[in-house]
Amino acid sequence: MIEVRKILGSIGLGILTIFVIVAIFAPHIAPYNPHQIYRPMEHPSSSHLLGTNDLGNDILSEIVYGTRVSLFIAFIVSAISMLVGTSLGLIAGYFDKVGFLIMRVVDVVLTIPRLPLIIVIASFMRPSTWNLIALFLIFGWLMTARIIRSEVLTLRRRYYIDATKMIGGSDFYILWRHILPNVVPLVVVQFIMEAIHVILAESGLCFLGLGDPVARSWGMVFHYAFECPTIYVSDVWMWWMLPPGLCIVFTVLGLTFVGYALEETFNPKLKSSFRRMEL
Amino acid sequence: MTLLRISDLRTYFPTPDGIVRAVDTIDLSIRERETLGLIGETGCGKTVLGLTLMRLLQSSTKTEGTIIYKGTNLLKISEAEMRMIRGEEIAMILQNPTTSLNPVMRVGEQIAEAIQLHQGLSKRDSKEKAIEMLDAVRIPSPSQRANEYPHEFSGGMKQRVMIAMGLACNPSLIIADEPTKGLDVTIKSQIVKLLKEVTKERAMLIITHDLGVARALCDRIALMYAGELVEYATTRKIFEAPLHPYTRGFLGSLPRNGLVPIPGMSPSLINLPLGCRFHPRCANAKAICRKKHPGMVEIEDGHFVRCFHA
């Protein structure tokens, strides 16, 4: 069983590395500029490996550049959410009065269903990458804050905290040197879970048409494919829908495998057990 | 009449760090209505011995030797046959009643299910019997309490419930694993009194590290160290004339004897010392103790010791 965990983790890491490399070196990997227009609705050929879309853009280039957008959104939302969530979680767990307030807010916002609210807000806004990022950030830190807080509550009772206080350690010192390092494994796992959630949610929003039409993420490429009335005719879907869809699937798969491997490594009895978060 | 005879019993766990020899060649026997005490430190393998008798260990563990119970070798029978023995012929009362009871099942039901299964009584009849058992272990208002959940019982009462569960099908042998652990002194003596009544009718193997309890309940005592028995005699002989240095050390560590600890730590069951397993901690260790492993020798009638210098 330990073997399986390691294998899965490695596979996941491998997949993610490939995507990150593609994202970073997009201009060198993509054959064309994704906004450049050629003959529309072309079938795959030697000049356009995945054909062209209804506007005439090369689909392969779209997808390569789309890697940047999709990964960027996921990464930045997760990173900031972790920063905010961990900080608030640490504070909430350590300082009771403030903590109570923070947790009430968290509880309330968590009860409001995420996706409908995001959809509604997004429909009122101009579709853009940064707007989406902001929207996801509203919710991204919540679960992390809660989990970190509850871990801090447990850690506080450990003896070495009292010992440190007795030799004059300040609260900040305790938080920084003693509590934070213990909390890091949880944060890492939460990062991955949030990234997964964002990728799926973002692709969902794009599918609804709420994504950025200029910086086209995989979800948007998929959306335009879906909107095309002849998509099922003559197998157009094979090179226009399948590639972006599969990119999403493999990225999530990679993240899932890594998350699974990490979770079992850190602590088989982790409370934040690996369950899929609903959209 | 010998009820149970254990010969040459070995239980090993393969682990990534090596083989754990939890039970390393044990010979024991228990007669009908006799109470045998198995005493030792935490981690010496006593619970594993109990679990081995019940065949409750995981399939990855290796068990060898023979366990003859009423003429049958328990290690050779099928799982289905063993299941019929568990609870009905041999019952084990596990440690820690708080976690050993199902929190979402009523207490009466937990006692009744074994009765229903083994004795084929109807649901109603087995419930009646369960209430009788609760009464037998002196739980007040048993019919009412049978409908309650474990968290509504105090520690001592939970222990009684465990005993009631063990007695439910009238087994010939009860294995009690640390029945008084964690209980206060007054509750402890109540449980001991209860157990004393229980053993009037049946045999018991009591696993404990509490010498006081052992003295009160046991006819014979076996001391276990690092997976093997080091001394085995009647209770009187153990307390009055202990022969093995470990036994002496153990007795010496009692409060009334001065609370003198045995120096050193018990060995890991993976890397056992060569020769006598106790020699690193023994004040009388001689050269031979480091090299040769002593066998169990019957020094006097019924008094066995594993030491070159007894």
Partner: protein
């Protein structure tokens, strides 16, 4: 006592949601209405002066804010959710007419995926580490990486386009007349299979993992050993001792998930053009039908909050330990 504080808590949440709904269009950059009447805006539905007036009246933007708020709240209580721009009918009516399909879809899918998830999760936990467990685990992990709409589309491509054994869209065949009710039922079921299958596949992961983890936790508990020591069979222990304990967290999650299912159906209904609330939401978004959008949001949110509340109530009833705090 628990019940009352929970009730108050959820009431507050509903109030907050209603307020969000109220402030949202008023807070967005620019006047929400200029969005619609601006001829430069990319919109499939052109706004006439008339429609503009209706919207203005609906939002009551000419009156002071506090009055607007009160009117809004009163309207909600009376069930007036405004007029849909696209459908030209009261929002509430539009929503209610679609609700039955979503209920059908969500209802059948939830029942099936939860049962399957529990069974598979328990099987996995019971066979921990062995081939069955690993195979199940990896398969379900992989399937869970697919966005629900992608699964839907793949199913459409395979079963509708390629094999032609299922219909492409709708809840019933359009303009169909039936000679007997059985025919109608069969037609509905025929249209239900793929959407339900899509929902089931996309949601089974959650329940599976939760059940598996929960079971693993339970199987490691001492009282399972006690049960074995009593000579009970493995099967009996699984059913009477393990599953009941493992099921507790599932119950809570289920009721919560039932709420989330409504949002999950958005994508599925879109792919299959299934005339439920999810599809309605999509249309509302596409046509910038703000009153309808808000109405649906309200509707969905209150449903989910309601589901959460019920989940809490059920859990309190189920776990005997909770009552004694």
């Amino acid at each position: 006592m628990h019940q009352i504080s929970k009730l108050a808590y959820y009431f507050v949440i509903v109030l907050i949601i209603l307020s969000i709904n109220f402030f949202l269009p008023r807070v967005m950059p620019g006047d929400a209405l200029s969005y619609l009447t601006d001829p430069g805006a990319d919109m499939p539905v052109r706004m006439t002066e008339e429609k503009g007036e209706i919207l203005l009246a609906y939002y009551g933007l000419d009156k002071p804010l506090s009055e607007q708020y009160i009117n809004y709240m009163v309207g909600i209580i009376r069930g007036d959710l405004g007029l849909s721009i696209y459908y030209n009918d009261p929002v509430l009516e539009v929503i209610l007419s679609r609700m039955k399909w979503t209920l059908l879809l969500v209802g059948t899918s939830t029942a099936i995926y939860i049962t399957l998830g529990i069974l598979l999760g328990a099987t996995s936990a019971w066979a921990r580490g062995r081939k069955k467990d690993m195979a199940l685990l990896i398969s379900i992990l992989s399937i869970s990486s697919f966005p629900s709409f992608f699964i839907g589309i793949l199913m459409v491509i395979f079963f509708v386009v390629k094999l032609g054994i299922f219909p492409l869209s709708g809840a019933q065949t359009a303009f169909a007349t039936y000679s007997n009710p059985l025919e109608e039922i069969f037609d509905i079921l025929h249209h239900l299979v793929l959407p339900a299958a899509t929902l089931i596949i996309s949601h089974i992961g959650g329940t599976y993992f939760l059940m598996r983890n929960s079971m693993l936790g339970v199987l490691g508990e001492d009282y399972i050993m006690t049960a074995r020591a009593k000579g009970l069979s493995e099967r009996y222990i699984l059913h009477k001792h393990a599953i009941k304990n493992a099921l507790l967290p599932i119950v809570t999650m289920t009721a919560m998930t039932a709420g989330f299912m409504v949002t999950g159906t958005i994508f599925v209904e879109m792919v299959y053009a299934y005339p439920g609330i999810g599809n309605l939401l999509y249309n509302a978004v596409s046509y910038n039908d703000y009153p309808l959008l808000q109405g649906i949001f309200l509707f969905i949110t209150i449903t989910i909050v309601g589901a959460n509340f019920i989940a809490d109530m059920i859990y309190i009833r189920l776990d005997p330990r909770v009552n004694h705090e």
